[in-house]
């Protein structure tokens, strides 16, 4: 009962044959080999599997693959430009925002999706939009600092 879907991933057109219950997370990790998205809970509670779906950050473990027909998915592998890290990625490096790194792709994509639409948020706003992404290593301090450095126009 596989269904054919056509969609875009990181700018490229792709097709896949998926079961009705296949999740977007399974599709990108298993079929597309994009393993930057991580399964931390499988229930949409931790944010480690976050991807950007038509401009919005979503937990890919809660999205069914059949539902992405015609849509555009951006994963952590797809935000570098011309071989250079995205400013958020560079900021996470510079501010030592990553410890184990397991939650970091989700963190960066949640921040990116928001900043793409709201370029000048307050720190309180950023802390609020990052509520869906758990981190057990950092206490979020350096993650918020890195995101705010991008918001404040620091050169990366």
């Amino acid at each position: 009962m596989r269904q054919r879907i056509i969609f875009r991933v990181n700018g490229e057109m792709r097709e896949a044959y998926v079961e009705p219950k296949t999740t977007l997370l399974e599709l990108i990790r298993e079929d597309l080999g994009l393993t930057g998205a991580k399964e931390g809970c499988g229930k949409g509670e931790c944010g480690a599997c976050t991807v950007i779906l038509d401009g919005d950050a979503v937990p890919s473990c809660l999205v069914l693959a059949v539902g992405i027909e015609g849509k555009h998915i951006i994963t952590i592998e797809g935000i570098m430009e011309n071989g250079k890290l995205h400013p958020l990625q560079e900021a996470f490096v510079r501010y030592h925002a990553s410890q184990c790194g397991f939650c970091i792709p989700g963190m960066i994509l949640t921040a990116k999706a928001y900043l793409d639409k709201h370029p000048n948020p307050s720190e309180a706003e950023i802390k609020n939009i990052m509520m869906g992404n758990l981190c057990r290593c950092t206490g979020y301090e350096k993650i918020i600092e890195a995101i705010m450095a991008v918001v404040n126009g620091e050169e990366f």
């Binding site: 998205a37 809970c41 499988g42 931790c46 184990c100 397991f102 290593c137 950092t138 350096k142």
Partner: protein, 764 residues
Amino acid sequence: MAKTTVIQEKELNVVGTSPEMKLTRNKVTGRAKFTVDMKRPGMLYAKVLRSPHPSAYIKTIDYTRALELPGVYAVITHEDAKLLYMPSHGQAREYGLDDMVRYVGDKVAMVAAETEELAEEALEYINVEYEALPAVFDMEEAMKPDAPVVHPERQELDTNVNILEISIQEWGNVEDGFKQADYIIENRFYTQRVCHCALEPHAMVAEWDLEGNLVMWSSEQTAFMIRDSLAEALNMPRSKIRFIVPEYVGGGFGGKYESAEKIALAILARKAGRPVMLKLNREEEFYTTRTRSPCIFETKTGVSKDGFLLARQMKAVVDVGSYAWGAIMASRAASYLTLLYKCPNIKYTGYGVFTNTPPSGAMRGFTSTPIHYAMESEIDEIAAVINMDPLEFRLKNKLDVGDIIPLNNVAVSSSGLEETMIKGAAEIGWHKRNPKPGVTGGKFKRGLGMASYCHYSPMLKATERSIGNAVLMANIDGSFHLLLGTADIGQGLRTIMAQIASEALGGKLDEIDVTLADTAVTPWATTTAASRSTIETGGAVKQAAEDMKQKIIRFASGIMDVPVEDLDARDCRVYNLSDPSQGMSFAEILRHPEVYLKGDNNLVTKATYSVPQFIPPYGSQFAEVEVDTETGEVRVIKIVAASDVGRAIHPKSVEGQLEGGIHMGLGFALSEELKICPETGVPLNPNFLDYKLFRSGDMPEIKVIIVEPIDPYSVYGVKGVGEMTVIATAPAIRNAIYNATGAKVFRLPLTSENVLAALKEKEG
């Protein structure tokens, strides 16, 4: 006392700076491959059948129907894997798979199939007949003589079989101390069961070849300890097991260095004839790995009216769950009564007790975190009784440099304790603290609290070993490979060790490659635990790097015709101290025919380092809180953590460790508790919705202060850092609630419910 001379460090170039962390670019781009991202050719997936009963014998298991499913390769039960996992404490056994289950979630069988989904489906086709037994979930109930027995194999023991261990430790005579005391106070504290919640769930792969060699990859805090227990269980020479911790491990916090599933997985992979991966889901992660032991502490303290501790007595009951690594806690907790404050008379009695609840084990701040809640809350209780500022009380009673620690008869070698108290107090604004609890504010009351800590890191007694090994290999171009048996689990070990090597060698940081935790490649190491690696492995790295530098300088001395003592090295270049423009790069030296033709046998150095004595990591934490006196809700406004880290090798990384520890401390203080149904033993909240970690918007303002009283006995003066700030957060907040409202909370977590109950009790 160990003979160690204090070496004055010259100016440091790399140690004490915060360069970019190694491999961090792979982490921010999704290229970092964790264990779960591995795929071996022909790899199968495993699932574990888990017990619905808290205590039962397995009478029969029939898995023929499961094996009939196409794509299912193997099923194993206790008949295949009743192999002792790890020599456990007190004759309590944990097997790969056993014919008895001891908690809800205990492992019964394991399946290997082509997909995870199929393995999961196959579990439904395994029929198990259980003989359910009575179970016990409460530690004090379990101590009673007629309680249900968790480990019947211990029946031959004389004592109550559920009591794993009784530890009695005494210094001086507490009865004498109580007689001299002007005031005696007694309290009873309870701390709860919490979980590590590393974002990466456990994942492991086992693969055999046809010559009987086993390779295992696993997200782990140690390669060697697990390899050793696998070798014992499987009755194999250690050399036939290669245990590899992949480059990326998604957090550990004490939760990733033991799991009996690995034995079962090895057996399963052998039976299936294919590599097999097991990854735990979040629910399994919560209650089938290890948890922090719930504890009860009964304290009795005698104090003089001028504010000196005269006698401290404590009874600790530690719930070690169904399988125990937490057992160590019952004996080790006593240490903390001797590490912070002077007191001539101390008596500690600790009980480790089995219950039919999730297994216990190490967790960040292991053995210290629960008891500090009791000890440091107790200090504020005493200060209140004698009407003394609790900061003043701590300053007056604290151990100082040169004071002998009664536990190990070692003099305190360095201490930033006073400095952490003074600097932390200034940062939180201690002078504006309510002189009397609960006098200011209306419905919302604010208050300040503090707590200090010390931790058992990496060892306390001369009888414990704390050894690091390092191998350093030079390439002919002047770049280096560093081989270490310990693991980087996100704490930044790879970078820190390269910094130490670079500093001691005169090498370039980004030209030092670090390979970690592979039992076939790297030298032996202990666990990445107890905040030990920087001290222990760092000591070996420094020695190996200094030896390497001397070898290269000796080569250069011959080539340049300059005496060895006139040469030094920096940035991969040996130079003449009296004329720095005269020199040779490492590459020029190593490629020089004089060196090259002699072969490369001199270009490997190795070192073993033994930590000479206890290196005390001290600190003080301060909290400002606001309490809603109608609902009991506590809002933490600010946390200040002043930490004596000896020397910060990578200050930004130290900050990250301290901030992360506060996050875990806040959860322990306010929101986290794995609840177990008192009737059925079923875990009630094994998910991130009901088990509440602090999220970004929940965090208070945090200020970390790094204090660096360079320790004379450790490499570059470093102390353990990783665990420290989790230890004192809860008592600091608890004491702030007391200062705000006058309510005394004895039970963690400090939920609205528990705080409101304390507020009501205060009003009587």
